[in-house]
Symmetry: C2
Subunit: 355 residues, 2 copies
């Protein structure tokens, strides 16, 4: 701290009495510098607490060491673990994560894509495959590898890693039907631009109509999902459709509120009403009754996404990869079946998510 300015390669060079160039090589290609000199340079750097300037490095060199990660939400741990995994795997390759959160706002998404691109990232990982046209245009024009995550079904920009949401919806619906539930409802946080949730909903409807059941009643709002919202939506649902006997929740946290609400209303779960969630949050297996839900292989998505990013940076070609998911059958749907198995068998499903 004797010097008020941040040390640069030049200050190190001056201190050691060599050229800037040599110092740079001492970092980038150590074996092209005499060990003794290298040692002195290292010492000087340590002493001055030198930290390389990546702005300069990135501007000059060819490669930048950032990867932009754009998610739609962080609050409800939906994507927190994804970001966590990505960060860890990329860091192992000395890649820094620049994080952005659109909060499901398309305008914000365009803005963030631009902001992230302005750092000239080596790649961009982004949640979803439904983006505002301008965002897609920017992404394509930038010529950066883009890895879309969580959804893979539909037009993809470049590379995608995700799960088959429609198949998940089918499995949810089919499971309820098999367990004898007949009047299904879909509840939760749902945004117009959350095509993943819409695909799951479509899957549920596919299953019910295949079973010859009526429409799936829905009660949704474009607000962040949490138990209070779940309980409120349940209340509103029951008020105008009191004969519903199964609720598909768009997320586990919504389901938590739904279960709390049903308890307060004195409805028995799974006897009177069945409940199924999506996500398999940590608490789900600890509730009483324990929540039946769908567990996407989050870790796999993170790992595959990281691998895809690295591969693309490394010159590999675009690809589409699906991760697995599992129906976690627990107590909230543990009702005795009332329909013949033959009928249930007629319902299409794809439990392995292999498309």
């Amino acid at each position: 701290m004797t010097d008020r300015t941040t040390p640069t390669l030049a200050s190190i060079a001056a201190r050691v009495g060599v050229s800037v160039n040599t110092v740079s090589r001492a970092l980038r290609a150590p074996n092209t510098v005499r060990p003794e000199l290298r040692q002195k340079i290292r010492a000087a750097m340590d002493e001055l607490n030198y930290v390389p300037n990546r702005l300069a490095g990135g501007l000059s060199g060819t490669r930048s060491d950032v990867v932009g990660v754009i998610v739609t939400s962080l609050h409800h741990s939906e994507f927190a673990s994804l970001v966590d995994t990505l960060q860890a795997e990329l860091l192992a390759q000395d890649l820094q994560v620049m994080l952005a959160n659109t909060r499901y706002d398309p305008d914000e998404e365009v803005r963030l894509v631009r902001a992230v691109l302005s750092w000239r990232p080596a790649a961009i990982a982004i949640v979803g495959i439904d983006h505002p046209p301008k965002a897609v245009e920017l992404l394509k024009a930038a010529g950066v590898p883009v890895v879309e995550m969580w959804d893979v079904d539909g037009p993809v920009i470049d590379t995608a890693v995700g799960i088959d949401h429609r198949a998940i919806g089918r499995a949810q619906g089919q499971h309820l039907v098999e367990r004898g539930y007949r009047r299904l409802a879909f509840l939760g946080s749902l945004r117009d631009n959350d095509s993943r949730a819409h695909k799951r909903l479509a899957g549920v409807e596919e299953a019910t109509s295949a079973a010859g059941l009526g429409h799936v009643v829905r009660r949704t709002e474009p607000l962040p999902g949490n138990p209070d919202l779940g309980e409120r939506l349940l209340g509103e649902l029951i008020e105008r459709q009191s004969d519903v006997d199964a609720v598909v929740c768009n997320s586990d946290v919504i389901a938590y509120g739904v279960l709390r609400g049903l308890r307060r209303l004195g409805r028995d779960v799974p006897g009177d009403v069945g409940v199924i969630g999506f996500g398999d949050s940590e608490a789900s297996s600890c509730l009483t009754p324990a929540l039946t839900t769908v567990r996407p292989d989050r870790e796999a998505i993170g790992r595959l996404a990281a691998a895809a990013i690295l591969s693309r940076i490394d010159g590999g070609g675009p690809e589409i990869r699906r991760a697995d998911w599992r129906l976690m059958t627990r107590e909230t749907t543990a009702r005795q079946s009332r329909i013949p198995l033959a009928m249930a068998a007629a319902i299409p499903a794809d439990p392995l998510g292999k498309g």
Copy 2:
């Protein structure tokens, strides 16, 4: 896409027929450029999908527009919402978040501090006040504003925003004592370098010893917290100390597993055993029995941290701010008290966290 190279200010300038710096000014100081020209420049940028290069901008200009955010974990939504809030508030000021996750590894922390500093951030926000000496040295040498989050009690680098963990521990212990619990245990994920958890534990012990009770039995592991770990630790605890009648869990997810385990063991909660958590995760109010826990004002921490960052960037001085927290009294500790109130009153506590 007629041009294979990314557009630069120069390409825009060439296209419009002006100098580079006119284009630059059109962005940075629009009113110093003739509206008509400005219009043409805008059009060219739009057409070419121009995205400014912040590496160049940051290198040249004085201010950088990144804020480094260093957390210890993301998985269990412990800090996810914090990051979420920070990101949103900073973005409003056109500041980008560069995220790093130490996973409670001190070596990693040093490495990440260095990595983040290499982007010459306008400020750094970091979880905790206990950092490896080298990290502190780097941070101080860099002369960047540093905002430490979640903990404020102890030596601080610069500015800090957090809650009083010791007071929280005292309140947890006192609450259990008041409810008549006598043999307390502390369970959960606990790392040596997680001084926040250690402070809460110390607070619990302070409360029990003030009440004249014996030592708090502890059963911890330096692993990520989750329900399975909670249930396992509970099992191990009961095995060698079966008379424990209250469990302080280091996080709500641990408590979920503890409750599940107690249920399986046939112990009544809150009758036989009381359970209290920390964090007030979303599911906590939906469990049966609902979990008594402590809710830190997460949103306030995020907001205050963002405000502190902005203020420091803007030339404001260092400061220390405490956020509030609340004991959420629910069912898992709803046992009738067995001790005279006078005694309970003797236990120090500071429920408002004002230090």
